[in-house]
């Protein structure tokens, strides 16, 4: 991966190579405990895949880290800053340094694709119109969308295109850290493979660090450096080989079931 980001002015307060550090996280929804003491490190430049059964709280974990939900206990540090201690302005500044891709893109339906990409740019900087147009075009072609897409509305896009457009918006401010919520869910295997490829490509060229919630075994194998598994309200983190050796029944059936075997076949020795 490139060190474009590492060499530059994005140096953090106390740089220990961790973009996200979660300690003892407990989250509850309506009295029900979702996470019970989660520790998580996201290292600079890695792609971390978060997996787990439906309802295990993968998306909740992502939403809690980016501040959409408040944890019941525990600390979350992003870019070395403790989220809970930030005031609104500091949090705003921090938010400009990460990008989030929601499940269905979450594009603003009343704006065109280009306008969607320009939203964070306009919010943060005072850029001339022609430059906004050019930047939107650039981001579109970075995520592999045709220039004509710029003037379309989200309702006119296919599911895969919506995800790419959402990714273009998430990349608008050149974030160092990217959160993806099931980026390949609902895509056909070929589009899903293309999307994995795109993420891997962008990661290496833009020096991204990626936190990815996914269901997709192929994505895990293709682009994830480490995998975090949500089981029994806690997190097991390791490389795919390490987790395959774990005796936990869920992990066994996940990696050694028919789908797991198909995805892993020949890719992991």
């Amino acid at each position: 991966m490139s060190d474009a980001r590492q060499a530059n002015g994005h140096a953090d307060g106390h740089d220990d190579g961790l973009l996200v550090r979660v300690r003892g996280l407990v989250t509850k929804i309506g009295g029900r405990t979702i996470h019970d003491g989660i520790d998580l490190d996201l290292r600079r430049g890695e792609v971390l895949g978060v997996v787990g059964g439906s309802g295990a709280g993968k998306s909740v974990l992502l939403r809690t880290i980016v501040g959409l939900m408040t944890p019941a206990a525990g600390t979350i540090e992003v870019f070395g800053e403790q989220m809970a201690r930030l005031n609104d302005r500091e949090r705003h500044k921090l938010e400009a340094r990460w990008g989030v891709l929601f499940q269905d893109g979450a594009l603003f339906s009343s704006l065109t694709v280009a306008e969607n990409i320009d939203v964070p740019l306009k919010e943060q900087f005072d850029l001339p119109h022609h430059l906004l147009v050019e930047i939107a075009q650039l981001k579109l072609s970075l995520v592999g969308l045709a220039p004509e897409t710029a003037s379309l509305h989200p309702s006119e896009l296919s599911g895969g295109m919506r995800k790419r457009a959402g990714l273009a918006r998430a990349l608008a401010l050149d974030p160092a850290l990217l959160f993806l919520d099931e980026p390949t869910a609902g895509l056909d295997p070929i589009s899903a493979g293309d999307f994995d490829h795109l993420i891997g490509d962008l990661k290496s060229s833009l020096g991204l660090t990626v936190f990815m919630v996914t269901h997709d075994l192929d994505s895990l194998v293709a682009i994830c450096d480490r995998i975090a598994v949500l089981i029994d309200k806690r997190l097991k983190i390791g490389t795919i080989e390490e987790l395959m050796r774990d005796p936990h029944p869920w992990l066994q059936s996940y990696f050694h079931g028919p789908r797991g075997r198909a995805a892993l076949d020949g890719k992991v020795a």
Binding site: S2, D3, A4, R5, Q6, A7, N8, G9, H10, S109, S110, L121, Q124, F125, D126, L127, P128, H130, L131, V133, E134, I135, Q137, L138, K139, L140, S141, L142, P147, H153, P154, S155, L171, L173, D174, D201, L202, S204, S205, L206, G207
Partner: protein, 375 residues
């Protein structure tokens, strides 16, 4: 120079110019860099080399600006730091994939353009009218099917519509009708007093409320209240793909969504009109009593003389037609909604405006019809 830390130094040496880019070439400084680089490109300074050795940080926008400049003045990028090579390469690929100059539309005012716009609007209105007519046909066909197969009717949905669009509208309709009665009586008395004909205030009140105002006010309130709700409800279902799901499940949206609303309004609007008539007359009567000393017995006597048996029915007969227009336009608007939040708002506004417009047009039609019939 750019204030936020990205800039370039210019060195001239024997016929060629060397630009040394320095600092943080990031989106923060893009606006200033864009201006400077554009000036530079305009000055056409001959042979140029751009030295990237002094750049501390680079993002996609910075890379894009460098590549764009290099391209427009035919310069070469030199001394690229290792860390930025992949990024530049990637952005270059992306830049090549897109057209050089995005077409920009110049907006100048032209008579031709204005005419063009006007024509577009006219055709859009015609297209809307055609669609509405087609929808009218669909409603009739569905209604016919319901008559043949009464088991397809949805009594529970109908009752819920009656509750929401009839019963729940009583307070607001009653209050406004009452106020209208008061205002008519008061204003009418003022004018008629000049001829010493205050007693005819009762006639004025009776005819205007029963024939026109009762049903118009009710229809307009219901158009704003229920017509907008129809569009927004069905529209939100469209956004959520619920209407599509219905169709796939073999349910006809017109039968399931439109008919209960339509039949509900066909029943409740005449009843609401009757209620508005009653309350409006009562409001006027109260005003007559308080301001003109026309006691209730005298009022009722005069009222009896002012009315012929048809007066009340000539007002109420319009209500079902208004109800049909409100329900049809409202539901049609909802089904037209596209998958965006903005579209819901747009169609809701449009359907209220359209149904009030059509109500007034219909009312004018009824006036002409009744005049021809001498009633």
């Amino acid at each position: 120079m750019a204030e936020s830390g990205a800039f370039f130094e210019r060195h001239e040496a024997s016929g060629s110019v060397m630009l040394a880019a320095r600092g943080n070439w990031q989106v923060e400084s893009a606006a200033a860099l864009d201006r400077e680089l554009a000036d530079l490109a305009k000055s056409r300074p001959g042979q140029i080399r751009i030295d990237l050795g002094g750049i501390d940080s680079l993002d996609t926008v910075g890379a894009f600006l460098l590549l764009r400049t290099a391209r427009s003045i035919d310069a070469s990028l030199e001394n690229v730091p290792d860390g930025f090579a992949t990024l530049l390469e990637h952005v270059e690929k992306a830049v090549e994939a897109r057209p050089h100059h995005p077409r920009r539309r110049h907006r100048h005012f032209h008579v031709g353009e204005w005419l063009d716009h006007l024509g577009e609007q006219v055709f859009r209105i015609l297209a809307n009218a055609t669609e509405l007519l087609a929808f009218f046909g669909r409603i009739l066909v569905t209604a016919g099917r319901l008559v043949v197969h009464p088991s397809h009717a949805r009594p529970v949905a109908l009752l819920s519509q009656l509750q929401r669009n009839g019963w729940a509208a009583l307070p607001i309709v009653g209050m406004l009708a009452f106020l209208i009665g008061v205002v008519i009586a008061y204003q009418g008395a003022d004018q008629l007093a000049q001829f010493g004909a205050q007693i005819f205030t009762v006639n004025l009140l009776a005819v205007s409320v029963l024939r026109e105002l009762g049903c118009l006010i009710t229809a307009i309130i219901v158009a704003g209240r229920s017509g907008s709700a129809f569009t927004a409800e069905i529209g939100a279902m469209r956004v959520n793909e619920e209407v599509d799901a219905m169709q796939v499940l073999g349910l006809d949206p017109v039968e399931v969504l439109v008919m209960p609303r339509l039949i509900g309004l066909l029943i409740s609007l005449p009843l609401l009109t009757f209620f508005a008539d009653f309350v409006g007359i009562a409001g006027g009567g109260l005003m007559c009593w308080l301001a003109l000393d026309i006691t209730p017995p005298v009022f009722l006597d005069q009222l009896h003389g002012a009315l012929n048996p048809l007066t009340f029915w000539l007002g109420v007969i319009k209500a079902p037609f208004f109800a049909f227009v409100i329900a049809m336009v409202g539901c049609h608007g909802g089904l037209e909604v596209e998958r965006s939040a903005e579209s819901v708002g747009h169609h809701t506004t449009a359907s209220v405006v359209r149904s009030i417009f059509l109500i007034l047009v219909l009312d004018a039609g009824f006036s002409i019809l009744f005049a021809k019939l001498h009633v």
